[in-house]
Amino acid sequence: MFLRLALSCAMLTGGLGAAQTAPAAQASHAMPAARVSAAPAARTPQDTAVAQASQGTAVAQAVRAPAAPCSAPYRIDRTLPNGARWQLCWEMRNIEGLTLTKVVYTPKGNRPVSVLRSAALAQIHVPYDSGSPRYHDIGALGSTAIPLLAADCPGGERREQSVCVTTRARGHAYLKSGYEEPSVSAQGSDLVVFAAFQVGWYTYLAEWAFSDDGAITPRVGATGSLAGSTTTAGHGWPIGVGSATFEESHSHNVFWRLDFDIQGKSGDVVEQYDFSGSRTAKRKLKRTTFTREAKALNRRTRWWRVVDRGVRNADGHPVSWELNNSDSSQYRGPAGEAFTRADVYVTGYRSCERLASVNPAPRCAGSVDRYVNGERLTDPVLWVNVGYHHVPRDEDADPMPTHWQGFRVTPRDVTAKNPH
């Protein structure tokens, strides 16, 4: 056996049921969501109100405040400057790392709506362009959490060293010019929860932004160092001096698992929206309701929503959260990596289905494509696959600038008007 040990130090390589007590017509701007009277009982501890939406009135029941689902160090309860409130719990799980649970949103002037039962990363698949190596970067992610410095959590608080909880400006929430009066405008803000993980050369930043308008933006940033694997010109980019070595291009296919439970697990339905009409003047809305488990592909105007028809806002519209996955590079791998071949998966809740690939649970399918097996959906879980193709550049020389990838979850009809 011939062993060559080449030590090269080149540049990089070498180098939430909200109800209102007043008739809808009397409400000024903040229209809350309410569970319609068809619901015989509250579905969650927070689901304290029953509304008779069909009569245009809502009746609130005086109910004691529910106990917090987690203790202080793991509890996040933040009211943002505009009055929007987010409540959730975090846990640094051994495998998935930062996991957020029991996420509840309270729009200003409204009652709380539970949104997500659980949300976490479900895989970071990293295939290199030459075909090898091909990593599944979620190992025991929790044990790779990096202790954060104060500077890593600007304006925030660090929880048990590795989780940052902070608030961040997000630019204009709105701006409307006045007619004779002055313009009205407001600056928006996000509650941000994040942790950093060291996986090999890479540092992954797992971030969740909860906006004061009810939006949720999960994203992952990759920084740290490039792997330093060199390849041929066809599979890489020369980033050292000259054009002798080519740093290998690769994909980061990040998967998230989102268990939406809008006011409890019952009544949640996933719909897909398309708009027909190509090279035509008219466009028409097409709604596809997923009654069974499904794999879905991105399209330019396509989006999905998780809707609970049993939970209505003051306009009588069902409360939903919309999902947009428009920034993915849409990597499609070989047959053995079928989990890469769809952008959104909708599966029925099973506690053992935890990761999108290399699932660690016994007596369970091994990857998300196999979780989709025709089951009728009663408690849907969404899996979102966002790819980023990284072609290295000189600027990636150490420390590598953070490149981000993620998607958007926005409230659709949670309130009857802008709850600003």
Binding site: L12, G15, A140, S143, I146, D379, P399
Partner: protein, 223 residues
Amino acid sequence: MGRQRIVMALAGAGAVAVVGAALLLPGGQGSQAAEAAPREPVPGDPLTGAEIARAGDIASATSRAHMAAGRVNLLYVERDDGKDAEERRRADAYLYDYATDRLIVRTVDLGRGTIVKESVTRGVQPPPSKAEEVRAAELLLADPAYGGGVREAYARAAGRQLRSVADLGLRGLIFTPGQEGGARRCAAHRCVRLFVRLPGSTWLDTSRIVVDLSAKKIYTLEW
């Protein structure tokens, strides 16, 4: 054995020192275990250190002889976050039997102090534990072909001789043969791909090296 050409490249990376320190944190489940003062956990809290220890003890009770012999290892304990058991404190203990290549997951009800479920399976590989990362590195160091190269790279980066694997920053990922050629025995065995970090924020290029913890062998991927 065919002629194999292995390149171990030292990646010169200038990451901040704290990252290196994090990598060198001792094993265990510090990140998952609650570190605050002892208190009665509520259902949604992470497992406390005491709960992890207790769940591990209960789950290991019937495997002690195999564990003493090194045949079975307790990988880690994870909180059971299933919706059907939300109000209960339950923990899943992951054990692996390297002789039969079986994953054993025992669910412990911490309120009752008993195992309420056991699943045994083959072909499912949860992530490597901290102890497995160390074991894999020990096998790598003991390998006649690679051990010397790792020591040499360490000496060059650190300016001193490697004393033990504790000097190395280790991260492991499960390797299963699929799209990458070689190491076919890893379809059934428990195999790990290591990332080895050296002082000065450099890494060994170990991307082609696979450590078979079941067979206690090192494989080199051919690509």
